[in-house]
Symmetry: C2
Subunit: 127 residues, 2 copies
């Protein structure tokens, strides 16, 4: 179970980085040749450079994350979480289920985010 | 969104079948050459015959299912659910996150269940 504990810690570290880190901090949790598909069905990002660019949209906005449910099976994690971003006077909340795979060092090798517009809410910014 | 609605209905039909159907009813929701990996990391079952055999363990036991969270992105669904089986005087509850893929007719082409013993509880059967 030690490895599964490492995977649980890695998910926690990821959500901490998404909430509090830079895009470089987040990308550093991925392997060099990792893939990211968010949402599932979009063109996958390949490699840490593309992955850092994907997260760079977060660098300028306050955000928070909350883990809602986490399941681990070997080197695969599936977790339901909430990410809240403050974009100007709007608050955007998205609640995906992410599916992540990890290597033996619990570095992220792949991420696929399952969500649709139905899982996003926007509040504020209206009169 | 019509296809995503079909996928949502297919997940609902799957949980209905797991609760109330035979193993043949459940297997009929899969395509002929579908794959099933439950839990992730175990040897995948390939094809409807192996899949029906996998579910045959359920045929003799009372069970119920409850959908807890469902996310859909195109032909992929990820859902957190509870399945409760009554095995003799024991009640076994498992709460996985399943990741399913679907073809254009919303038939299941693949299922991967993410859970570990930490997500299973057994009650009863003890003095």
């Amino acid at each position: 179970m030690a490895f599964e504990d490492d995977v649980r810690t890695a998910v926690s570290n990821y959500l901490d980085a998404v909430a509090n880190g830079t895009s470089a901090d987040i990308a550093a949790l991925y392997t060099d040749d990792a893939t990211l598909e968010d949402p599932v069905g979009s063109e996958p990002k390949v490699g840490r450079e593309e992955i850092e660019k994907f997260y760079s949209a977060l660098d300028s906005v306050p955000r928070s994350t909350e883990l809602l449910t986490l399941k681990v099976a070997g080197g695969t994690a599936a977790f339901h979480f909430r990410v809240v971003t403050e974009a100007g006077d709007q608050t955007v909340t998205v609640e995906p289920i992410d599916v992540m795979t990890f290597d033996e060092q619990a570095r992220i090798t792949g991420m696929r985010a399952v969500w649709s517009p139905a899982d996003m809410t926007v509040t504020g910014g209206e009169q």
